[in-house]
């Protein structure tokens, strides 16, 4: 049985999930040690299969979309933090999408297009975007500590949280994509070429920071939207999720 890595969820669901999967693994180990008689072994096997395999895709998708929602709200808060103290000049409102390093990825542009994309492709797009932001987030994280901004500690902690969420979401999406076929496994590489240094003077640094945050906000919104569409499609039996 394949190992399931943990996906961090909010609150008590995390513990429940971890406990359940931990129980699965320990039970497997106990069974492997062979200290159980034949009849008991059969019953234990049936129980294990029922318990461990019964993690539904719906549940995983729900948790993934919750995670992406959290990511997007974090990036929005980051932008607000930046705006609260930013000097009133030279501030750019919104970067053109073509300027972000992830612009090379072709994503649907409206609802009809998004609904026509297959689930595997949607999953692949989400995973590609997520993968493409690993490096820039690291750059942002290292630069946030020395950011010439009054709220840099709050910004720094939020960026770290973003990194964690991004990592756990990527792991969860890996698991999900393995259930969805080879098309979902394909990832487009979106390299970040901005370098680790954001600039020399204060304005440049802040501008670049803002620019990256805006790109991140857009991309996290994309990921969130794709996952919500996926969740709704998978949850045909549970209309309350849509």
């Amino acid at each position: 049985m394949q190992q399931k890595s943990e996906k961090k969820a909010t609150g008590p669901r995390r513990r429940r999930r971890r406990n359940r999967l931990r129980t699965c693994r320990t039970d497997e180990r106990t069974m492997a040690q062979g200290g159980i008689s034949g009849g008991k072994l059969f019953i234990t096997a049936v129980y294990l299969v029922a318990m461990c395999r019964a993690v539904p895709v719906n549940d995983l998708l729900d948790r993934a979309s919750q995670r992406s929602d959290k990511m997007h709200s974090l990036s929005t808060l980051l932008t607000q933090d930046m705006d609260s103290h930013f000097p009133p000049y030279g501030r750019m409102q919104m970067p053109r999408p073509a300027d972000c390093h992830t612009s090379g990825l072709l994503t649907p542009n409206d609802k009809e297009q998004a609904l026509q994309v297959s689930e595997s492709d949607l999953m692949s797009l989400a995973r590609s975007l997520l993968r493409g932001w690993v490096d820039p987030l690291a750059v942002l994280s290292t630069n946030a500590i020395t950011l010439p901004h009054p709220a840099k500690s709050s910004i720094s902690s939020k960026i770290q949280e973003l990194q964690e969420h991004s990592k756990s979401l990527a792991d969860g999406l890996d698991i999900l994509s393995s259930k969805m076929g080879p098309a979902a496994q394909a990832i487009s590489i979106l390299p970040y070429t901005g370098g680790t240094d954001l600039g020399q003077d204060r304005v440049t640094i802040l501008n670049k920071f803002n620019f990256l945050l805006s790109c991140l906000r857009r991309d996290s919104h994309k990921i969130d939207s794709f996952l919500k569409v996926l969740r709704c499609r998978a949850a045909k039996l549970q209309p309350e999720l849509c």
Binding site: H72, Y89, M94, D99, T193, N207, R218, H221, C242
Partner: protein, 514 residues
């Protein structure tokens, strides 16, 4: 594209005209610079209700003008507004075909008057940033009985979204916020947030009037919808119907139970008690009403008891004393006499009464004490027996014994008349007799029982020889016992001693030891 280039490019003609009223930069645009800001049109509000379409509104200029809105998507060509009417006056409505998500719209409005054109500032947006949902509708309340441990009512509030079709595919996911306050406390709003379902249940609301309102928001948008219409909720005072029923039921059952106990159980309490806890039966004698024994009806008792062997009703009027002849009685120590009581204490007491060293004569009968027929007595005339009642015998070892004080025996008294009908008394056989006149009486048995253990009459000489042997052995034993007694004062087995060495030799084949 290199972000540096982006920066350089955007710090140029890039406007910052956000509808939130941030400080604008002074920009060069194609419009008239010198015109005052009030006379230029201004795009002030753009909104998308479902992330598929959006509308923008602008403020008009004072003069009569024709408005043209031009926009560009990302770096594309300039396009004109597709629809000027659907959104109302001075608006531009972008339908589905003209709306793209995650693309950058930059638009300007130009007011064309006969004299000159007034162009607004450029307004740029991404559609996802302007998503603002409709306000929820159909806010309704239903009061229910709060189940479980809750007392009072639970208030179920529910509402609907006016355009539920946008939620169907998951493109938009809503989160709700509900606020409520008591009527009269205008600013003390309490909020329930976030709510994922279009309903919520409130517990513990104090009776009174409340004002409730709700709003919603797309999950990944920052903008809340407008508040729904407020709803007035009245939480009643009285208990819900279910609880009233339970209360009535409990009180009714309690009252009925009380009545049953007061009028049914208590008067019959004695009978009920006897039914559940039957009294322990007292010892009964078959054929005799126990009430007789209580009341002391002696005639009836005597009649019943006369069936018993040897029972003589106690006659309290006359005391009958039988003459006892003290001639020819055997002198021996009380050890010869089978001390009846096995109970050591009593025998010790008896022993104390009859001190060992005292050589006062004792009258003993050899056990078992049985009535010897008068013929035997006749043979033993010169050795008069101390038997008092020829026809009776008494059993040694029984617990019935009394001490009776007799008068000084008359030496000339002869043996009792054998033919005399004896008065049937319980304690009518003598076992011991002191010279002071005290006699140890034991119950006697009638003659028929005597045959079982009647000793064969022995000749005088043999009997006397036996007695001599017996006394000798007894003396030896007593000497031994005295020696032992010095060592062990607590040894109470002395009491049993009279029974041990003497009687097995004596009673030949008789099982009369009880």
């Amino acid at each position: 594209m290199d972000p540096e280039d982006v920066l350089l490019r955007q710090t140029g003609p890039m406007p910052s005209g956000a509808p939130k009223g941030r400080k604008r930069t002074m920009l060069r645009d194609s419009g008239d610079i010198g015109a005052p800001a009030a006379s230029r049109p201004q795009i002030y509000y753009c909104r998308s209700p479902n992330m598929e379409v959006f509308t923008c509104w602008w403020h008009p200029v004072e003069q009569q003008a024709v408005y043209v809105l031009t926009y560009s998507k990302d770096t594309g060509p300039q396009l004109e507004c597709p629809d000027y009417t659907s959104g109302g006056l001075h608006s531009c409505y972008f339908d589905k075909s003209h709306t793209s998500i995650w693309t950058y719209y930059c638009m300007t409005v130009t007011a064309m008057t006969p004299h000159r054109n007034y162009t607004s500032q450029q307004h740029c947006l991404d559609v996802v940033e302007i998503v603002e949902m409709e306000a929820p509708a159909n806010l309704s309340v239903s009061l229910r009985d709060a189940g479980g441990d809750e007392v009072g009512h639970s208030t179920l509030l529910s509402w609907t979204y006016p355009a539920p079709e946008v939620l169907r595919e998951g493109w938009i996911t809503l989160v709700y916020e509900l606020q409520y306050r008591r009527v009269g406390e205008d600013d003390n709003w309490k909020a329930k947030h976030p709510l994922r379902e279009p309903h919520v249940e409130l517990f513990g609301l104090r009776p009174g009037d409340y004002v409730v309102r709700v709003r919603c928001r797309s999950h990944n948008s920052r903008l809340w919808s407008k508040w729904s219409a407020t709803l007035l909720v009245s939480v009643p005072n009285r208990l819900p119907a279910g609880k009233v029923l339970v209360l009535v039921l409990v009180v009714g059952v309690g009252a009925v139970a009380l009545l049953v106990i007061a009028f049914g159980v208590i008067p019959q309490s004695r009978r009920i008690k006897d039914y559940f806890l039957p009294p322990i039966p007292k010892p009964r004698i078959t054929g005799i009403d126990p009430l007789l024994l209580k009341k002391g009806n002696f005639d009836e008792i005597n009649r019943h008891f006369s069936n018993f062997h040897g029972y003589r009703p106690p006659s309290y009027s006359v005391e009958l004393w039988d003459q006892v002849s003290a001639d020819g009685i055997y002198l021996s120590t009380p050890r010869d006499c089978g001390i009846l009581d096995r109970d050591r204490g009593t025998s010790v007491a008896i022993q104390n009464l009859f001190p060992v060293q005292n050589s006062s004569p004792y009258v003993c009968g050899t056990p078992p004490y049985c009535a010897v027929p008068p013929e035997a007595f006749a043979a033993l005339q010169d050795a008069p027996s101390p038997w008092q009642q020829p026809e009776t015998a008494f059993i040694s070892g029984s617990d019935y014994s009394t001490m009776v004080r007799l008068g000084v025996p008359d030496a000339s008294v002869s043996a009792p008349d054998p033919g005399r009908a004896p008065v049937q008394d319980f304690y009518t056989c003598v076992q011991l007799m002191r010279d002071s006149g005290e006699v140890h009486l034991v119950p006697c048995l009638p003659a028929p029982y005597c045959h079982d253990f009647l000793l064969p009459p022995v000749p005088d000489a043999a009997k006397r020889e036996e007695e001599e042997k017996k006394s000798k052995r007894l003396a030896e034993y007593q000497a031994r016992k005295n020696a032992a007694k010095d060592d062990d004062d607590d040894d109470r087995s002395n009491a049993a001693d009279p029974l041990l060495p003497v009687s097995p030799d004596d009673t030949r084949g008789s099982e009369g030891r009880f």
